[in-house]
Amino acid sequence: MTDDSDKMMDLEAFFEAGRKDAPEPSAALMSRIMDDIDSVADQREAPEPVQKGKGLFGRIIDGIGGWPAVSGMATAGIVGIVVGVSPPEAISDFTSAYVNGTTDLYLVDPYDSFGFESFEG
């Protein structure tokens, strides 16, 4: 314990010497820091670059939801053209039957719940 106290007393003398022997920053460092003060302030005070307004096309794209929406619409359009030019078999049968077939196909029901008299004459 005595030995520890003795060492601590010695340490105080070393700390005091260390505090007195404090190095000072060089003038060059202070000058660099001063430059930083100005450059950071200059950047902060510089006017924001003016953004050009969007054209008609850009506004339309924004209006429909941006480029993701445009790509979805383009895909749907292409699928529509493919189906129109070369329809799958099931759709082809239905279309030809509707246009040229002997079977009557109606988009509306001609015999609704009160149309049974048509069959009875």
Binding site: M8, F14, F15, G18, R32
Partner: protein
């Protein structure tokens, strides 16, 4: 605006003035704080050029954060000391090839005498050499407490630990320092009485 007008203004107020475009306030802050953090960096790194780089980097971070500084947050000095401590720790780790701080062994009584490695004879240089034998966290705590003369609660904030941990680091650091320096007592002009 002459610097004298701000002489009594707290650091946080000067930083706010700089955020609002007053560069003189920043210059005053620079004159107040740069010597302190430069000394902290120098004592941690033991190299003036590196200490200057760290000081400039820390001050630059301060200027950049000025507009976002919240007055109710930490003191500017505490924040800066912490930045410097972290920057120094990063550099010391790189020097040691990314070895963990905890892996750095404390000097022991049986270890090779540092006297053989020391060229300087002044107490200050001896202290500096001895500090460099300590693990980074212990060195940091001892430097902040005994050379920068900060309070333990302030050091706790800087090091992001509890006050108890700071006291422990300082106590272990001082024991290790005493152990290293005791071996050079005669050389440094101390008698064994």
């Amino acid at each position: 605006m002459p610097l004298d007008a701000y002489a009594d203004a707290p650091d946080e107020a000067l930083l706010a003035l700089y955020a609002n475009g007053d560069r003189d306030a920043a210059r005053l802050l620079m004159h107040r704080l740069t010597p302190r953090i430069f000394r902290q960096a120098y004592r941690m790194l033991g190299d003036k050029a590196e200490a200057e780089d760290v000081t400039q980097e820390a001050m630059l971070k301060l200027w950049k954060i000025a507009t976002e500084w919240r007055q109710d947050e930490a003191k500017v000095t505490t924040w800066l000391y912490r930045i410097v401590a972290n920057l120094c720790t990063d550099r010391l780790r790189k020097r040691r090839g990314n070895a963990s701080i905890d892996e750095v062994a404390e000097p022991e009584d049986g270890a090779e005498s540092v006297a053989d490695q020391m060229q300087q004879t002044t107490r200050s240089d001896a202290l500096s050499d001895a500090l460099n034998q300590l693990p980074d966290r212990q060195k940091q705590a001892v430097v902040l407490r005994h050379l920068d003369e900060l309070s333990n609660p302030e050091i706790a904030k800087i090091m992001d630990v509890g006050v108890g941990a700071v006291e422990n680091l300082i106590a272990r650091g001082k024991r290790a320092l005493a152990s290293v320096l005791a071996k050079r007592k005669k050389e440094l002009g101390y008698s064994d009485d």
